[in-house]
Each structure stands twice: as C-alpha cells, then as structure tokens.
C-alpha cells in the first residue's frame, strides 16, 4: 500500500518542492498550511509520516507536536520538523517535545529523502 505523508507548511513554494521530491520517492503527499485543522484529521486518519514547519500562523509547530504526542493515535507518529529559524534552543525544545527528526532550512533534498527513509524503515 502506498505510504502517506502529510506536510504542514505555510510557505507555498516550499510545500510544492517537498510535494515534488516526496512524490518522486513514491509517497502520497498531502499539503496543508492549517495545522489546527490537520490535528483533528490526523486523529481520525493518521498519516505514515508528518513533515512539520515550526513557524506557522495560528498554532506553532511546537503546539502541534505537543498535541500529537498527547493523543493516542499519533503518539508514535514519525515527525520531521523543519525550521528556518535554526536556533539551538528550538532544536532542544523540539526534542523535549518528542520530535523524531529536526532539520533546518534550507535543506538538501537528498537529506530530506534520507531522513524520511530512515524514519519509516520497518
């Protein structure tokens, strides 16, 4: 069965790039800029992987991650967090909240693919 990845990213060009490279890898890609809406949807139908931006309108990436980890369906969901802020304190905070991987923008496409493969390896 085709694996599903959800990308929560408010910068349209970045989500488009991610969609392209993940699709090329054989993923089914869903993209949204609205983390709040996706939070509910993921409880009903969790994806296999979540790529999450940190700076989002409304709930921040940290807020979403925190909620995900508190809920049954997404407690163990692999989450790759991407951020353009790239400060050490943010990485520490993300790890504290239970992020699976943390990468700073701009990223190398190959690194994203490698991380995604690693995270979803059986």
């Amino acid at each position: 069965m085709e694996k599903r990845v959800l990308v929560i990213e408010d910068e349209p060009n970045i989500s488009e790039a991610l969609r392209f490279i993940l699709k090329r890898e054989g993923w089914r890609v869903e993209v949204s800029a609205d983390g709040t809406a996706m939070l509910g949807q993921m409880q009903a139908d969790p994806p296999d992987l979540l790529i999450l931006d940190l700076m989002l309108p409304g709930l921040s990436g940290f807020d979403i991650l925190k909620s995900l980890r508190a809920l049954d369906m997404t407690r163990d969901l692999p989450v790759l967090m991407l951020t353009a802020k790239g400060q050490g304190a943010d990485r520490a905070e993300a790890e504290r909240l239970g992020v699976t991987r943390f990468m700073t923008k701009p990223f190398a496409n190959a690194d994203v693919i490698a991380a995604v493969r690693e995270m979803t390896a059986p």
Partner: protein, 909 residues
C-alpha cells in the same frame, strides 16, 4: 532605776515616735501634709547634725578642751548664715534633678557616671560606719551608766548586747519608715517628722539639764561664769590655727555628710524652708551649745575624779539624785543617737542600693530574660538589706574598736572622710570645666590619704598599722609616716590629715579636669548644674508634668520607631501595674524615656525634647548649645550619608537604565537576527530545493521547468527586496539618509502613489475616494520618500482590506504648519491589541501579510516619516483601517538631519 524600767521607757518612747511617724506618713499620703512641709519641721530635721556626740560628747569635749567644741557649731552656723552661696544652689539642683543622695548628685553631675557613685558610696560607708558605731556606743554607755544596780549590770546590761539590740531596733524602725514605698523624690515625711520630734526632745533635755545646773546647782549665770573662769585649764587656751581648721572642717561636714545631705537637700520641698533654716538652725545650734560649758564646769567640779566627762549630761543629774531629769537627759541622748542612725542608715542604704547593688543585679540579670515588673519590689528589698548592712557595719566597727575611743575623735575622723567629697561637690556646683576624670582622681586621692593618715591609725597602733610604721614610716621611709607626711610634722594628726587629703584631692581634681575632655553628657549636666538659676520660671522638674502619654508616644515613635516605642511604653505601663501602652507620666517614666531617647538622639536633645513636651523646665542657652552641637553633628553626618546615598541611587539608576537598555537591545538584536535569519532562509529554501530538483530530475516537462525557474526567480527577487528593505531601514534608523528636499504639489505625489499601488493584486477592484481640492497643496519635502510611504499604505490596503466592495478614502488636512493625510479603508481594521505592534519590524498580523514582504513595510514608513519631521500613526475607530501620515508643510532640512546625527554620535560614544 532598773534596767527593765529603762528598756520599757525606751520602748514607750519609740512607740510614740512610731505613732508620730505613721500619722505623718498617712497625712502626707492623703495630701494633708502642709504642716509637715513647714520651715519649722525642716529646721528641726536638720538637727540630725547634733548626734550623741553633740549631746554627750560636746560636754566631754568642753571639759577637755574648753571652748573648742564650739568650732563644731561655728562651721555649720557660717554655712547656714551664708546659705545663698552654696546651700541654696545645692538644694535647687538636688530638687530639680531629683537627686537621691550625695553620691547620686556627684554621679549625675559628672555625666551620670556610676563609677563616681560607687566611689562616693564607699567613702560614705567608710566614714559613716564609725559614726554609727559611735551612736551605738553612746546608747549602750548611757544604759550602763544609768543602771546603777551592779548585779543587773553584770547580768543584762552587757554593752555589746545593748548595742546589738539597739542596732536591730533602729534597723527595724528605719526599714519600716524609710522603705515603705519607693518614692521618686526619696522623701520620707514620717521619718522627718519623727526626727523633728526627737530634735525637740534632745534640745529640751539639754536645756533642762543646763537650767538645772545654772539655777539650781549654781546660783545663776554670774556664778556659773565665775566658776568657768576658776575651772579654766591650760588646755582650754584657744589655738587659732586649730580653730580655723576645725571650723573649716565642720563647715565642710555640714555640706558633705550623707545624713545632712539627706535632710537638707533630699527631704527639702521648698527653697523658702532653707531661707528660714538659715537663721533658725544656727539658733538651734546656739541653744543646744549654750549650756555645754556650764555643765562641763559643774561636772568637773562636783563629779568624782576619773568620771567620764562624755557622760556628765547623764551622770550629773543622777549624782545629784535628779532621776527624772536624768531620764529626760537619757531620752535626749537616745533621741540624738537614734535620729542620726536612722537618717544616716537611710542615706547610706539609698547609695548602696542605687549605686552598687542594683547596677550589679541589673548587669547579672541583663544576660537573662529581664522582667522589669519586679523592679520596685527588688529595689525596696535591696534598700532594706542595705539598711541592715549599714547598721551591721556600724555594729561591727563598734565591736572591733571596743568602744574605747573618745566620742569626739571618731566624729572628727568621719568629718575628714566626708570632706573628701568637697572638691568634687563644689566643682559640680560652680565649675563647668570640672570633669568626671578629675572628680574620680580627686576622690580616690583624698580617700586614700584619709584612710592612710587618719582612718587606719584611728584603730590604734597594731590593728592595721604597726607602731613601727607609725613611728618610722613604711619600710622606714620617714616622709611617708601617716602623721608626718612629706615631712610635715608640725600639725596635729587631724589637721595634718585634713590638709594633705584635701590639698592633694583638690590638686588631683583640678589637674584631672584640665587634662581630660568631658563627654557631651558631662557638658550638658555641667551646664545644667552650674547655671541652675539661669533657667527662668518656677523651678520644676518632671515632678509636675502637664503632658499626657498620648503626647509623648508620637515623639518616641518618631525617634525609636513605632514598634519599639510602643513596646517600651507598654513595658513602662506594666511596670506601673497598668494595662495598655499609656503609662502614667511619673518622674520615673520620664527619666526612663529620656534615657531611652538619649540612646538615639543624644542626651541633651532627649532632655530638651521631653522638657518641651512636658512643659516643665525652660530650656537654657547651654541646653540649646549642646543640642545644637549634637544636632549639627548628626545633621552633618546624615547630610553626608544623604549625599552619598543620593549619589549611589543616581549611579544605580543610571546603571540599571543602561543595563535595561542593553538587555532590551540585546533581546531586540537577537529577535531581529532570528527574524532576519527566518526571512532570509525561507526564500533560500525554495531556491535551493527547486534548483536541486532541476538538477536531479531528468524527465521534466518544459512547463514544469519554466514553473520551477519562475519560483526560483521570484524567490530571488523576494530575497533581494528583503535585503534592500533591511539596508533602507538601517540607513533610515541611523539618520544617514540623504533627503532630496524640494517644493512639490501633494496631489501629484498621491496620484503617483495610487498609480504605483494599482499593480498590487491588480485584478481586484479597489475604489479610491479623494477630495482633490485640499490636495492642491504645495509642500517642501523629499517627494520620493513621501511617495514610498503612500504606496506602502495603499498597497497594504489593497492586500488586506477584505471588504466585498473595497474602497479607500484619502483626506488631506492642514493644521498648524503640519499636513495630515488620512488613508481610511472600509475593511475590518486592525484589532486594538495589535495596533501598537504594526510599526515594529517583522510584525505580521496574518499569514497573508508576508505575501508582500517580511513585515518591514510599516517600520520603514515610520522611519521615513521621522526623517521627514513627521509621523505615521494608526487612527482607531474609523470603521476600517485608518492611517494618518503627518508631516510639516515645509521641511527644514537641517532640523530633520541634525537631530538623528546627534543621536548617532551619542550612540557611538
């Protein structure tokens, strides 16, 4: 007369005294004591000067040395006749300062030094014990003389036993009337009245014996005078030198004797009493000495050879079979002795308890929990104990010396002892320069010399000083012989001791005073004592306060702080047995309060403050000087402190401000860098991702390729614009911007801005409502910059105005040389809590906002407007979003540029 009869008579007499004393006490406590406080009673009480020594001893003295006994009365007579020189001042000072004893007066004058109090007390006890012994001896002698039955003498009339019981009885009497209550003024109306009665008894007794001798034994005054001439012995020859010395000595004694101080000063209630006593007391002395020589002469004539002349007053009537007269005479002698012992032991006990026992007890107690509630009882108990102690000392002295000395000798030894207080006392009254050190040195010097040259030798050779020492001096040093100090052997021992002790005492006192510097307390007390008359108004002390505790509490609170003042007041109230924290204004309370306050503000200030509040003493110039110097010191000190503290506060505030500024700048810088990083990384992420995609992907449609290239291109432009904005902002913020100021018509600028902003979301319909007439306004400014602001505002409106029929109204107004251009759209406006934020860098209200940029637009607008000498502000309550751009009609180029330049140089520093 039987021994028992005599004892019963004594007891009956003492009971009468008891009744008199009790009545007087009761009258005094009920306020009916006006008759007690009369000059007559006062004068009679002064007769404690006339002790058993006077009553019995004077006759013996006269029998041995003729008229010389008169010197003992001449001194006091001179002092009282010249009362306004010394006594008046002494009494005034004593009463105003509530002095309780001579030790208290000296200690108070020299800065309330307890060391001096202790020295004086020890001196008074050393001199007083023999004197009390003398009285006990005379009473027991009179008993033995009176009891003629030899069998009885052997059985019951053992002299030491009589002395013992006499001492017990007198201790009892003194304790009952001397320590009934603890009176602040140490006044004892009961005792004084009893003493006055005894004064009358002893005078009457002596006059009765005298009248009997002159008119019934002899045939009248003429006969007596011729008998005196016939009897005159060679020893009766008047020695002018010795007379001078003795008159001086007795004059000193009447001032310095503790018991005289007690009745003259402590028990005095009115200056006028002293004025009366100044003639009445010499009269009393004259009367009591009038018949001394006749009795002596007749005694020498009639009594068997070897009879003790000291007992003539008693033995002569007995010898002549006048038992009734003898009994009166006995009571007279008994009165003289008891009155002296009672007053002396009272005075000494006050000193012992106030200056030795209580301070010691407090020092011991202070380490433990001090419960001040039992102080009154404690002091009374100590007094009682001290009275017993003083009488015991007298009794033991009597036992040790065996009662063998001639009465007059002991009296004179005591006189020389107490005379040592004279320099310190006179200094206290008349010399402001007299100091504590001087007083202590003088007292110790005089006391040591008195002990060495008179007191110790008085026990006789072998008791304390060996005959060897007396004859050849200690270690054979001749000039240290007790009776021939420094080679002075021409004087008799008494005058020798008086001369050396007083001379060296005064010398040490003066030198010590010159060489030491008095403490502030001493200076204040000195001024108060020496200039006692300079205080105008009625002489009042704390005894008649007019203030209430409510008035004093605020003063105390101001100085001590609220909680400490209240707890002090509460403790004082408890001491008086009262609840709450408003004690009665008693002298003790005021004294304690003064002491407490003086710990904080200095003694003089404390005193002056209370004096003012209580409304008693008028503050003298010296008080004020002392206060001023204290205050000046305190003020100078506190001014320095204040200046330092202000400086510190200022520095601390500057540091704090600088620190806050730095922190704020640091936080701002971090946030700014973080924002810039984010804003730069976001387009770079897209550029990198798509360029990698284009590199990696082999099979890619031409549409895709163009699309991706377009994204890369757009993001590059976004990146460039961001960098441009940042540089622009930086230049504007630092005032380095070059303005092209020129005249221009406002309408043209608005036209240009509207045209330029049309490109933003050009597909959206956007109506712009203008009133073109007010826009026809010539202004002088940087047209390009102002247009940049207009474009920004208009573009924002096009982007964010979410109305179905978006429109923008532009209104131009002129006000006081300023132009206001309002841009009002019909959207939802900006929420109140965000209105202050929109001009900050990187502030974004919604995610859509970033479509136009990094959120620097309004921040740049604000900087531009500041550079143009104007402002841009959000105007709330206009329906939609409303921005007001204001700027001067004519921009003064220098004004706009010089100010930021200054800021910049300041920042560079």
């Amino acid at each position: 007369m039987s021994f028992n009869m005599l004892v019963l008579t004594c007891l009956a007499y003492v009971i009468v005294l008891f009744v008199v004393a009790s009545a007087a006490e009761r009258a005094a406590s009920e306020g009916r004591a006006s008759w007690l406080r009369s000059p007559v009673i006062y004068t009679l009480s002064l007769s404690v000067y006339c002790t058993a020594w006077t009553f019995y001893g004077a006759v013996g003295y006269a029998a041995r040395s003729g008229l010389e006994f008169m010197t003992i009365y001449l001194g006091p007579t001179l002092v009282f006749l010249g009362w306004w020189v010394t006594l008046r001042k002494l009494v005034r000072i004593g009463r105003e300062n509530r002095v309780t004893s001579i030790a208290d007066l000296i200690s108070a004058r020299y800065g309330k030094s307890n060391l001096l109090g202790v020295i004086v007390t020890l001196l008074c006890i050393a001199a007083g014990a023999p004197y009390i012994a003398l009285q006990l001896q005379s009473i027991s002698q009179s008993f033995t003389v009176f009891v003629t039955d030899p069998s009885e003498v052997g059985l019951t009339a053992d002299p030491t036993l009589i002395a013992f019981w006499t001492a017990i009885g007198l201790a009892f009497f003194t304790i009952v009337f001397g320590t009934r209550t603890l009176d602040a003024n140490e006044q004892h109306p009961g005792v004084v009245t009893a003493i006055a009665v005894e004064a009358v008894v002893k005078l009457l007794a002596l006059i009765a014996v005298g009248v009997f001798v002159v008119w019934f034994v002899a045939t009248g005054p003429a006969d007596i005078l011729s008998r005196i001439d016939a009897q005159a012995l060679p020893e009766w020859h008047i020695q002018p030198g010795r007379w001078t010395g003795l008159i001086l000595l007795s004059a000193i004694a009447i001032i310095c004797l503790p018991r005289m101080f007690q009745v003259t000063v402590v028990e005095n209630t009115n200056d006028q009493h002293l004025a009366t006593a100044s003639w009445a007391f010499p009269l009393y002395l004259f009367l009591i000495s009038l018949f001394v020589l006749p009795i002596a002469v007749v005694g020498l004539e009639l009594m068997p050879a070897g009879s003790n002349p000291d007992m003539f007053v008693l033995t002569l009537p007995l010898y002549l079979g006048q038992d009734g007269l003898a009994l009166l005479s006995f009571l007279g002698g008994f009165s003289a002795a008891t009155s002296m012992v009672i007053v002396a032991s009272l005075a000494l006990a006050t000193m012992v308890s106030n200056h030795i026992v209580v301070p010691l007890w407090l020092r011991v107690r202070s380490t433990r929990n001090l419960d001040s509630g039992d102080m009154r009882l404690l002091v009374l108990s100590v007094r009682r104990l001290s009275i017993s102690l003083v009488l015991a000392l007298g009794y033991f002295y009597y036992i040790i010396t065996g009662g063998s000395e001639a009465l007059a000798a002991i009296g004179l030894i005591a006189f020389v002892g107490v005379a040592q207080m004279l320099p310190a006392l006179i200094g206290a009254l008349f010399w402001r320069g007299a100091s504590r050190t001087g007083a202590a040195l003088g007292l110790v010097t005089g006391m040591a010399l008195w002990v060495y040259t008179l007191f110790l030798p008085s026990f006789g050779p072998g008791v304390f000083l060996t005959a060897q020492v007396m004859e050849a001096g200690p270690f054979g040093i001749a000039w240290l012989r007790p009776y021939g100090l420094f080679g002075l052997t021409a004087l008799d021992p008494l005058l020798h001791a008086l001369f050396w002790s007083l001379f060296l005492n005064a010398l040490a006192f003066c030198l010590g005073s010159f060489l030491s510097f008095p403490s502030p307390m001493e200076r204040v007390q000195g001024a108060l004592f020496v200039n006692i008359y300079e205080r105008t108004g009625p002489a009042r002390s704390w005894t008649r306060p007019v203030a209430e505790a409510e008035d004093l509490l605020p003063i105390a609170q101001r100085i001590l702080g609220a909680s400490e003042a209240q707890s002090f007041f509460r403790a004082q109230a408890a001491l008086q047995g009262k609840q709450g924290f408003l004690p009665d204004i008693t002298p003790e309370f005021l004294e304690a309060l003064e002491l407490k306050l003086s710990g904080s503000v200095g003694a003089a200030t404390a005193h002056a403050m209370l004096a003012q509040s209580v409304g008693t003493a008028v503050v003298s110039v010296e008080d004020l000087m002392a206060v001023a110097s204290e205050t000046a010191q305190i003020m100078e000190y506190s001014a320095q402190l204040e200046a330092k503290s202000e400086e510190l506060t200022r520095t601390a505030r500057k540091l704090r401000e600088a620190n806050e500024m730095l922190q704020k700048l640091s936080v701002q810088k971090d946030a700014f860098l973080s924002q810039i990083s984010h804003e730069l990384r976001t387009p770079m992420t897209s550029i990198r991702a798509f360029s990698e995609i284009m590199m990696d992907t082999d099979a890619m449609s031409p549409e895709e390729r163009t699309h991706f290239a377009q994204i890369i291109h757009d993001e590059s432009i976004r990146l460039t614009r961001l960098l441009d904005d940042l540089l622009d902002l930086s230049v504007l913020e630092h005032g380095q911007v070059q303005l092209n100021v020129a005249p221009v018509v406002l309408r043209e600028l608005i036209d240009k801005a509207v045209r330029a902003s049309n490109s933003v979301q050009a597909d959206r319909k956007f109506r712009i409502l203008r009133d073109r007439d007010p826009e026809a306004l010539e202004i002088v400014t940087d047209a390009g910059r102002l247009t940049q602001v207009f474009i920004n505002v208009l573009s924002n409106a096009r982007k964010y105005c979410m109305s179905d029929d978006p429109q923008m109204q532009i209104k131009v107004r002129q006000r006081k040389g300023m132009v206001e251009v309002d841009f009002i759209d019909n959207g939802t406006g900006i929420p109140r809590d965000k209105q202050a934020l929109i001009f900050e860098k990187f502030s974004r209200l919604t995610d859509e906002m970033q479509a136009g940029g990094a959120g620097l637009g309004l921040a740049i607008c604000r900087e531009i407007m500041h550079n143009l000498g104007g402002d841009i502000a959000y105007v709330p309550g206009q329906g939609g979003a409303a921005f007001r751009v204001s700027f001067p009609l004519v921009l003064q180029p220098r004004e706009s540029q010089s100010k930021p330049a200054e800021e910049q140089t300041e920042a560079a520093e």
